[in-house]
Symmetry: C2
Subunit: 329 residues, 2 copies
Amino acid sequence: MADVAAEAHVSVKTVSRVVNHEPGVRPDTAERVRAVIERLGFRRHDGARLMRQGRTYTIALVVEDLANPFYSQVGAAVEREARIRQHQLITASAEGSPSRERAVIEALVSRRVDGIVVVPADESASSDAVLEASSTPIVYMDRPVRGTPRDTVLSDNHGGVRSAVEHLVAHGHRSIAFFGDDPAFWTARQRREAFVATHQGLGLPGTPRVSMGPHTPASVQETLRRWTDGLESVTAVITGNNRITLAVLLAQRELRLPLSLIGYDDFELAALIDPPVTVVHQDPAAMGQKAAQQLFARLLGDESPAQTVVMPTRLIVRASGVRRGVPTR
Amino acid sequence: MADVAAEAHVSVKTVSRVVNHEPGVRPDTAERVRAVIERLGFRRHDGARLMRQGRTYTIALVVEDLANPFYSQVGAAVEREARIRQHQLITASAEGSPSRERAVIEALVSRRVDGIVVVPADESASSDAVLEASSTPIVYMDRPVRGTPRDTVLSDNHGGVRSAVEHLVAHGHRSIAFFGDDPAFWTARQRREAFVATHQGLGLPGTPRVSMGPHTPASVQETLRRWTDGLESVTAVITGNNRITLAVLLAQRELRLPLSLIGYDDFELAALIDPPVTVVHQDPAAMGQKAAQQLFARLLGDESPAQTVVMPTRLIVRASGVRRGVPTR
DNA sequence: CGGTGGTCAGACAACGCTGTCATGCCGCCA
DNA sequence: TGGCGGCATGACAGCGTTGTCTGACCACCG
């Protein structure tokens, strides 16, 4: 900027004014400055600018794994909201490790990002102190966190599972089982509880059959074999996430079981599997958008108490939920 | 930092030394400073630090759409490389628009990111001047760009298509058609050319049947109907990307065509479709990793001439490639 | 013709940190 | 006892901007 100023025989401040379209520069002066800027290929150094202004116009997204479609859709949505508001997005993976997540968040705070959206690795509010000290706004997604209340965007796990159970029951199923993810995950526990509650609420016979992860394809197959072996055979299965849906589909094909199935999370080509798979759809893009909007509201000075939003799920009915199972009697 | 210095009765420079683990501070002094830092919740302001040092320890990735699995895998790989090297990653979508891409790149250059990985929207080197002036290293991915030679990481489109054609021919197919994407895309043109060349190279009868995009499900279905109607019916189809594979699968199901199929790009659950879909797999993670590595080599001072790397593809053989088609005679 | 107000432009400090150089102190040796 | 070297620490400038304040100049009015 100093170079431009010298070349154009003006002060740096005037160059600054021109660059930022500030008023109070005579058109001919501005033109002269612009010409020099063009000639010298000058670009304002945003780092310096933002330092002066105290804001970085940058937000961050911390997730487990960017390649996971759920997170990548969240990422795309958050990036979009950021771009609309002239902010940049830093994305970072914590790879599911709470300690790495903490380190990542601290690094982001050191960079003075304006705010952070996090899908937390666990429920310990391990970065609370840092966030507090720096008063960096944060929005948690998908899973709540203990400690200081913060803005949180969750998915309606309970409603999603309930809609799945109800759908199966409406199609005549009475013997429904649930494959959940590792109960270390909050969402997995939520979905399990929802399954058990709905199972009992609807007065289905017997104890709810539940198998929680971590699963392997072999363990899923083994469990499935056990459940379909005998008089009280399961006729329908609900899965707790994407990966498990895949495992169940494979096992089912292997064992030639005509089970009904409802998967949690929609997936590409679910419609092309035979039979097309009915799923509980959470809308990651909507969740990401909502989280980003919450964050930006805070950045604009919203001081209201922390808020938890529960996003609805939607049952996408395809063919796999209808009765076609092994008769129970 | 000044606050800490005052509180600990030392100079800011000493605080700086402690924060950065520089030698030349007496242990007891360091300890006192650390205590104050802890008490005050001080965090070094990386923006200021990086400004002083001239590097931002930040790289950027510019793609079309973060939610697209191809790009999200690239993103995850690039982020990983960045994290390993203590850099942050800014991700940005250009949504396929060259002008937006240009704006995005200019913004990144203004932020003085240390380097950029781009999947370019088109072949016009529209950001050349800016990159040149700022001497920001850039690596192009998936598609080359005209203008100044730059590091580029491509996929072996020719080899991928050739392996697909050869696989089909090996299974007795003689009448193979190709559905490509919009020829505005460099990769689409590459794959088309590869198809035509291989078709002729192997001495397959007739003119190669090719349909280029943009496609709609309806247009795909119509074309497919035409090609399978009559004596010279097509028995196998090769698709030019993911989306087209999906469209063909749907059309095929609709029309009840027992076509063989090889898709470009692997996709989740390709193994679960009936029959499981044989695909040409490009490895987005490997491409992203390679691109990031190239970029970091430049950041470390590698001054060698721009380099183009072509990453191999792999044919993942499932069932859909074998002969099962309508007899040609 | 002096005063007033408006327009354009520049000087200067500051954002928070670090690189460079200077300083003070201590111990050691001749 | 004077000189020297090494260690711990600090003063200061500067990274590239922008906010604030000041100043020069001009036009206009009474």
